[in-house]
Subunit: 413 residues, 2 copies
């Protein structure tokens, strides 16, 4: 099917979804989950084709791991849809309301965006997740997955649409967008057809969409996350947070990438921290002042402090004071999650006030900056832009608002 | 000065503004107002140069009226700045907050965007308005005015900066961006330097910025506003709202452009409505079924129902029922302000639920969709996009949020 026809079908579906009650949407989510479970064998067989093709193409193991589905992963996708049905529906929430002096009443009410386009890489589970989050928030979804997951995505979408077809919601609420690269360009140019575009994936994909799109984009960006260990930090606490933020899951955007240590605490803190990091398999990159505390420091290159490693690597620098830490972060942050460990209230306050990021943390691991950890129950991504949504994006962030203005014939003087 | 250097100065100023208290910002606004009043003669002399040049270039009278400053208009700009000082400061507001089960506390706090770029046409009053709104909301402003208002804008900016210079805020909080068209392109491409770009002006300017920009844009769009007179409408109320919405100030985006009349009420309502519209100087464009009620109807062209006239013209159509009205609006709306006049509760509910626009009105004039009428006290524009802000944009809409996460050493399991 042509993209334009798909987009028009999505718009028509969005009009129906906008007024669908929570009950009807939850019933559709339950049916989508059941049909996905029923189609598990078909989905796994389709996925096997994609995995084999990726292996033959010499794709690296970590990407194949993201691509591969198992019976457990399919069950996880289905239970994710069931969980969505259990969440509150943001649509219809009254954000604020008041009565003007002339008696005209104004309410600001949450409404769906309409049509949401999602462009993502070869992770078939995103297909079900994104479809479910879009539907729950009343949006029609145009899902543009990777061609290397095409068989998997087709099978998943077919199951989801079969589920929707058993309800009174339009099946075109969920569509897979197929075709060559020109179709991605079509999506990026689809003003009036797509209300919001969300790229999910690596920095290359996100930059291409942000720079090329004419429709509004929500940037789910990269995380060059910093941890500043202040002079007053409890060293045990700093060490625990350091190891957790760096090693608990290094491949994600809220993992730690740069450690900044106050010069006053460096002589006591760094030898222990570097030893523990080495035990945990972390390679530390730093200048000679850091290398003075360990023989295993890799000399830091010129771009070291701008790297989002997503691996067991860590850039490290010693800074003379809080101001230097703030300057370093201002110069290198990607605006994701920045942390201070300190016992000093004034420094904690300055850090949270002055650091410009989606999340600023005091004495806690940056790994908490996550929709699930925040209790949102669902997450479409973590926004690093400042427009519309910043930080973990859940159902509420998948909505817009409208003003409902009611009078008894009032006119403007 | 080169644009890049201006943008870097703006970023530095934004860092200082982000932590400025309301008191410091209000003091700067008062100083800006005072210096603008003190410089009134200089500003008026500069404006006279722009007006003369525009007249010599044969610019049309309505544009020259927008360009022209008077002592009263300068005083109005200054009092606008004083009024801003009296408004609440959204920065620091806690939008929501909670404690996670592990004791980690999360607060979502309002923060400035950082650097806001505003691209606008030859209306020098926008220079002071936009500078004031940006500063009050803690943002540094890069103001890109029209070259045909350059002398006026320079004089205004000089006065505003002289005012800021008497306070402890950075003068680079407010900067005029000069230069040829390539500088507009620089602004649109300034990812990482400009956080949000707001075009203010006609459809051509807005489309060029929306389509060309790589930085996030807030679209302050056009208003093809509809009024649907339902079969159950009180005809007197419908007539009053019709005349108010069309004629009270036809040149603005919340003025009425299209009238839809339910077929059942057309024979009683339209003859009276068309006569009154004619008395008010309105030219009505319609099909033969409308022309049956008046000899002065101008035949509607193929694009008539997509026109934003901004003049005393009105497109008119008779529709068989509410569904047809909803379909017509869905096909032609620009998503600004759409109105129903009805006595039928179910129809009012359907209209407000199903029409997809920034504002939906029941029995009230669309002229109320305005920051001032909403009681916001300031308005940077009316957004017709769904991302971030929709409808009248005031100080709150000039902010983003950040999550402040505080713990006692918690790490993720």
């Amino acid at each position: 099917m042509e993209f334009l026809e798909q987009a028009q079908r999505a718009r028509a579906a969005a009009r129906a979804l906008a007024t669908a009650s929570r009950g009807r949407k939850d019933a559709a989510l339950a049916a989508m989950a059941q049909h996905l479970l029923d189609a598990a064998d078909t989905v796994l067989a389709a996925n096997a084709l994609d995995v084999t093709a990726a292996q033959e193409a010499g794709t690296e193991a970590s990407l194949i791991d993201r691509l591969r589905l198992t019976p457990e992963r399919v069950a996880g996708m289905a239970s994710g849809l069931v969980d969505l049905a259990g969440l509150a529906d943001p649509v219809g929430d009254v954000v604020r309301g008041w009565t003007n002096p002339n008696g005209v009443q104004v309410r600001q009410v949450r409404v769906p965006f309409g049509v949401v386009g999602i462009i993502y890489e070869a992770r078939p589970n995103v297909t079900a997740d994104a479809a479910g989050i879009a539907l729950k928030s009343g949006n029609a979804a145009l899902l543009r997955g990777s061609s290397s997951a095409l068989h998997s995505n087709r099978a998943i979408i077919e199951a989801l649409r079969a589920g929707i077809a058993t309800t009174d919601l339009p099946v075109d609420a969920v569509q897979l967008v197929e075709g060559g690269r020109e179709v991605t360009a079509d999506m990026m140019a689809a003003r009036g057809l797509i209300d919001v575009l969300i790229p999910r994936g690596g920095a290359g994909l996100i930059n291409a969409v942000v720079e090329g799109a004419k429709v509004p984009v929500i940037e789910t960006g990269t995380g060059n996350c910093h941890l500043f260990v202040d002079a007053s930090a409890d060293p045990d606490m700093a060490l625990e947070i350091l190891l957790n933020a760096k090693t608990q899951r290094p491949s994600v955007c809220n993992a730690l990438e740069t450690l900044l240590v106050h010069a006053d605490i460096a002589p006591s803190f760094l030898p222990r921290a570097l030893a523990e990091l080495e035990c945990a398999g972390v390679t530390v990159h730093g200048a000679p002042d850091v290398a003075a505390f360990s023989e295993r420091i890799v000399p830091a290159g010129p771009d070291e402090f701008d790297a989002e490693y997503l691996t067991l690597d860590l850039a490290c620098a010693i800074v003379p004071d809080l101001d230097a830490a703030l300057d370093h972060i201002a110069g290198h942050t990607t605006g994701h999650s920045e942390t201070i460990v300190t016992a000093d209230l004034a420094n904690a306050d300055r850090f949270t006030a002055e650091v410009d990021a989606a999340a600023v943390l005091v004495n806690a691991s940056s790994r908490f900056v996550d929709g699930g950890e925040f209790g949102f129950g669902a997450e479409i991504g973590i926004s690093t832009q400042k427009l519309h949504a910043r930080g973990p994006m859940a159902l509420t962030e998948m909505t817009s608002t409208k003003y409902v203005v009611t009078g008894r014939g009032q006119t403007r003087a």
